[in-house]
Symmetry: C2
DNA sequence: AAAAAACTTGCTTGATACGCAAGTTTGCTC
DNA sequence: GAGCAAACTTGCGTATCAAGCAAGTTTTTT
């Protein structure tokens, strides 16, 4: 690991807080969990929690944050010749396949987001900052981005919206339905605007 | 004003709190304003504020909430024969034209949303509940909504995203640019997916 | 090994939401 | 128009939370 001990300890602490938040929320329900309880479970002080996350919602959705970062990186690694929407779709499916089925707690988290408006709000905040990065990625691929800069942002917003709808819809599908299939479908429909 | 005195007083109080929140936020900046100050300015107790709004952010964005309600109603009042996306676009432009240029404080509010993540999060919460109503409206217009229920939700999400991007983009345009024009443009691009 | 930088922690302050139980206003009926 | 019930306002108390500050500790750097 290139990073020093300090950096490793920091991400360990952050991860521990995140996992404590997830575990406690699953066990007792989000609103029965206090920041103090999370800090205790992660073996740090209440104050240290605040050094890492601004709220328990943020701690809970740290996983989503990482997931989104992976997605942005995946888009970056797509072949440069690929048109923007295809790159977005490809990256999304790739990331989904890589760690989609491997984390059973993620589904629980997603369900929680639907029941708690505070979580949804938090989620959108993190998504919003990703939107800027995605917009930049799209611009660098699209020949038309010089003439119409708003188009790239529009595409990023549409992509995020389609992803969100796909995940939410998937929760109501019969068990066994592949999220990747629902995503592919939603992205294809939305993508009609950008081809 | 068919409602009784009680109802009228309630919306007067709500409006007074909202306007106090806007005025104080413009004057001192959002984070220098406390709920107590807002309540004082509106001549009600600190506790009463909490009976109306869950936070100062919610009070501040009450105008947006009303605006969105108008939009949903405008969609409802569109000719039944009009296809969904055309109804959405028409309603948006209609509402924009009706009260767009008339409220100078609204622009200040929108700029504030961009600077304060807490406001953005709040805004998304209110938008999310509108998305459900818009989805219902769309479904009732679309012949295909029976086969593909997710498509209506996708359209609603795309519509909201396009509106949001249009407003944000408009803020960076040279002064004098008509918001309606930017909106029309964004909605047209996005709409390509749904025709 | 010593100096510097970064991190943790307890303490404190300022704010906030919300339950509860009065007191007050409004709506409705006779 | 008198009175009752429901709805609303208010003050109080409790629990929760973010953030500044300063002292102590760990890691990095020189």
């Amino acid at each position: 690991m290139g990073a020093g001990l300090r950096e490793r300890k920091k991400s360990a602490t952050r991860q521990a807080l995140h996992e404590a938040a997830v575990a406690l929320s699953i066990k007792h329900g989000l609103d029965k969990v206090t920041v103090e309880a999370i800090a205790d479970a992660a073996e740090v002080s209440r104050r240290t929690f605040s050094n890492y996350f601004a709220s328990k919602e943020e701690a809970l959705l740290h996983g989503d944050q990482l997931r989104m970062r992976l997605l942005v990186d995946a888009v970056r690694d797509r072949p440069a010749a690929e048109p923007p929407w295809a790159a977005l779709t490809g990256a999304a499916l790739e990331v989904q396949q890589r760690l989609g089925a491997r984390d059973p707690r993620w589904v629980t988290q997603v369900r929680m987001v639907r029941r708690h408006p505070a979580l949804a709000a938090q989620q959108v905040s993190t998504y919003a900052s990703m939107e800027d990065e995605l917009t930049a990625q799209i611009s660098s691929r699209a020949p038309w981005s010089a003439q119409c800069p708003v188009r790239a942002r529009l595409m990023a917003a549409a992509f995020m919206a389609a992803m969100r709808v796909a995940v939410q819809d998937w929760l109501d599908r019969p068990p066994g339905t592949q999220l990747a299939d629902v995503m592919r479908e939603a992205l294809a429909e939305m993508g009609a605007a950008f081809r």
